[in-house]
């Protein structure tokens, strides 16, 4: 077992509710169990390449669960192996992994724990070959990371989406209304499926099941005729109509995420209004799902993932990530997480449960 004197922590990938709770979940056992010093890498792998780090004082790290932890900042851009460098000629993409390794040495890091999704785990995998003691912790709002049953942040995002469906449903319009809620999920429909089930949505449109406009329209029209006050359609941002129809995307100037206009939620709202003449309303949760306090479930997971990650670091199990399997947190090779995306299986019990209550998937 390696004595852990100095442990680095970085967060890669997109934002996520309660990232600082997860940093806390790692830092606390590092400090109280190993007496280690925790070094925060600022801004993900970008910060590792550029040497932007700072020691997190024990006092800061051991603070309360809500105000504690640290805002390290995250970035979904900085792959050290393909790193954008500003030159006089423009931007060059260079391999800067040696800078990252050198910075780990300069800061005397005995281990580095990287929190993130598949992109992050891919980088973890490559660094392992370079001799770093690098452990992964899975974090994806969308829950689309293979190799673990659950990842940090997902339960919190489902809660926020469920809250939204709850609130939207308690309206008293005398006219039948179609209420569209767009939630996150580019490649996997876990959030839409979970929140749709929890909130009792009448239709759930997910990337895994291309939908037909006619089916969705028939469903909401029939519900209106049967006397419902409203129908709720919960749509993943990555849901798409069957048949290759393309969602228009405009106005991408200067924005890495062109969702403001022409998102699928807007499109579903407009198209249903056109095809059925019904009153439709659209809510786009967007960034909202990335913020807020984490749920108790996610915070407990943060503690367990953190304790396990520090244990793995002390055992020099480089190239592994912590993973929830059933009720146990175990170690799996990071490669399990990088070779496919964990989408919703069409025969999953969640889909079965949704079908059992008459939910329309648009097929």
């Amino acid at each position: 077992m390696r004595p852990l004197k100095r442990i680095g922590v970085l967060t890669g990938g997109g934002d996520c509710p309660g990232l600082s709770a997860l940093v806390l979940g790692i830092a606390r056992p590092a400090v109280s169990h190993f007496g280690a010093t925790v070094i925060g890498i600022l801004g993900g792998f970008e910060g590792l390449v550029e040497g932007k780090m700072r020691e997190l004082p024990a006092k800061e790290v051991m603070g309360s669960a809500i105000s504690g932890g640290a805002m390290l900042g995250t970035s979904d851009k900085g792959d050290p192996f393909h790193f954008p460098i500003q030159t006089q000629q423009g931007i060059d993409i260079l391999d800067c992994s040696e800078d990252a390794v050198r910075n780990c040495r300069d800061w005397n890091l005995d281990a580095l724990i990287a929190i993130g999704g598949d992109g992050t785990m891919h980088i973890v995998d490559k660094f392992t070959d370079l001799g770093l003691n690098l452990i992964g912790v899975p974090k994806t709002i969308d829950n689309d990371l293979a190799g673990t049953d659950a990842s940090f942040g997902h339960d919190s995002a489902v809660r926020i989406a469920t809250d939204a469906i709850d609130r939207i449903q308690t309206t008293e319009s005398v006219h039948y209304t179609v209420l569209v809620v767009e939630v996150m999920g580019r490649y996997a429909g876990w959030i839409a499926l979970g929140a749709g089930l929890a909130g009792g949505a009448d239709a759930i449109l997910i990337p895994e099941i291309p939908f037909k406009w006619e089916k969705v329209c028939e469903h909401v029209v029939r519900r209106g005729k049967q006397g419902s006050r409203s129908s709720v359609i919960c749509v993943s941002e990555g849901a798409r109509p069957a048949g290759g129809e393309i969602v228009e995307k405009e106005n991408e100037v200067g924005s890495s995420d062109p969702s403001p206009r022409g998102g699928i939620g807007d499109l579903v709202g407009r198209r249903i209004a056109e095809m059925t003449g019904l009153d439709t309303r659209v809510t786009v949760l967007g960034q909202l799902q990335r913020g807020g306090d984490p749920t108790a479930f996610d915070r407990i997971l943060a503690n367990r993932f953190g304790a396990k990650a520090v244990e793995l670091a002390s055992q020099e199990q480089s190239g592994h990530m912590v993973s929830l399997r059933g009720t146990e947190v175990v170690a799996v090779p990071v490669r399990e997480a990088t070779q496919k995306i964990r989408t919703v299986p069409l025969d999953s019990q969640l889909v079965f449960a949704a079908r059992a209550v008459g939910t329309c998937f648009g097929e």
Copy 2:
């Protein structure tokens, strides 16, 4: 004082958080203080014209504060004095006020309490001349009703918008991001101003203060340069740029509210991205603000408004509405509520407080 045996209750105008709590706030004192029977008119004034009513059993009415009350349904269409009637030639607009009066007589209503905004109060006013004992209770999410310091539902909507700003702000992107949140408020900016202050938004765009694109862009660019992680812009749906520029509105087929596309929130997000090259994200709360449990403030108000409205009904103060003045609930003629919209005064203390903390209004 008139003995109150049978009291009708109807809700007009748009949806609002906790309408059933307000029905409960009226029904409880009617039942327990006067031993009255409460008759719910279903679907607002439309239901009054068409005789859609039902007795609300005491047991239903006296239920708990959260599950009690009644979903009467509301409608923003049915003015009995200009009522749309489907004929073979199409839709005729007729004066059906006599049908409404006759239905009140047929159901032996000693009083009718109408919950709603300025449209509703306008109708209350006209019916008073026809001899109905008709009392108003103010309810506007936007808080734009004159004649009262506060109306039911507004505090709840501000809370939801504030929650959204809170959640959006707790993100950890390493890149500076502009976060746009579109909230309700067609003619008055109370929700944007309240939630913007409470949540600490960096810019607040309201209908009362036409904004300049340059000013807003300068503000967010400067904040980015000063090292902020993000800037939050809270926009009323009725906010408009100065100089008569028109917000495109498309795709109105079959929808009474064409907000899905081309809403001001989307436009602000796109335009700022174009003009500054910054990363922008847009959240459109929409219908979300009309649902959810009412706050304690609104529920207390519901009880006080209800108790006062029943008292006024027993005193046959027809043509009056209940009103909060300072800390007291009083009666004011409904005409006070119908002659102007209560917009945000530019010299109000709220605007002063916002300016004092450096909030940009885009001027």
Copy 3:
């Protein structure tokens, strides 16, 4: 496969957040998948013996996720095999199981689904021998039911307890304060452990680990000396000091739950104040944990448990209960749930995670 025309549902055991969501989770697939009629048994097995039942109309059952479902009422008293009957001589305990069976026949129930904890599963087991088609669904706030990884209601209770710890911690007293929070858990410490981890409690006292007063006092005194503003002690209602010391219980007149006075939370607060001279405050959550909306996690579980239970009923798998195993909902014999209580294993990862952050268990 048995055609399911009429399915009875009853809830046994204590109250639980969102029981009606679970009834909804059963009733929806029964109606939409099998076209069955759902019969609610009112007041648990007591209602089954006494024939208190009513058909739940499809409209009521298929309502929205938040207002839908049904309040059937629960009872922790009515074991039909040992049923208290009021006679002239007093109360006799009789075997009334035949009444229950007859009522099932009279109401033409093809299956009966019983929601509850170990007491309920024990009764399910006995009825199976009498030829009823009886399926169990696990529900315990305390999560102490064997045979399943998770039961309905627990996640919601942990959330409420975590909320309480969060709120209590955000105080600003200049004096160091010891904050005691008593949560549920008579025989198993899952709630205290989960909420304590999630909220970052400094000491967690659970029934599985008898605590020593000296250890707890030392811990909080040391934290005070190290400059902490406060220490939070999260106590299961069933936690006990080591060495057989008995918690005084007084004043049981007329109360099935004498917790008002002399609960362990109060005792911990008083004893620490006496032994250390520190300022202590006590919060007793009590019944609070049994109410409120269920979390998204519990609501999804309700849908999955419900869909599986109806499937098992159609397969006449009498004597089985639905169970979460890892990520799958499966069927297990109810006997697995009745032969032991699922307490916290001392070597569990949760305990390890808590120790890793320096949490005191009082040993």
Copy 4:
């Protein structure tokens, strides 16, 4: 108008939800409008006497509404005019006001803003005679401060108490249960009255109306006979039975707040159980009400109070406190706040509204 270069801020009295939001509400306009430096006095007037202060960097002060502000710490002990000094003979009470004045000079404070209740305002008043430029901002959870219609923190506490009543009510026991909730309010019943109305409590016991055991018992027994599932009794911690009966208080060793045992909530629960034989459950919210995020209402108030307080400081209106009068924030002499406690008038509209719905006050 005095140029404000350096403004001190301190908080006196007990804890309160969102104190740091109020510090932020003062500091932001001070920084952005006057370019002032804000000095936080740590631990209330005790810190002022002992010179415990620190500059709050603009960056810290101008942070987001949720993470911003500052935890200055509060204390309800340190009256500089009667200050406890540890000597070899024990504790002497001395006038240390000169130390406080000298510390203000040493730190070059142009103004000092003191946030607190009546004790704090009393001290503000006395210091004014000594030549300090001292402005008050009202903050009481109990809302019992005279001179203002509302004080900071009260709306947040009412929300927490209302949440508790909501949750407690959604239980499904088949036996009729009496649910007692003890909330804050030593001398004034505003929280119990507000939360009781908002949550629909069936009985509200407040300090202003001494209650009779018989009346309360009759009320809950009658409700049980009429078929209610439960009755909720909301009790102020300062509520007392009529006739001078004394609530036993034991075990005060080392505790400034001996409420753990023998609080009025416990007593009400036990006594009702004894007198009626009904099942009773007690929840004691305690410290819970002092924590958590402030409501939007309180945060807006924080901004308005802060902006006004800084304005008053710049006008050297020493001896005044900011005050909400109707919809306006005005200045009133602090003496208005110190000469009486603002209790609930028995003829107030809130009491009328509660009586109108059949709420029992125990008389």
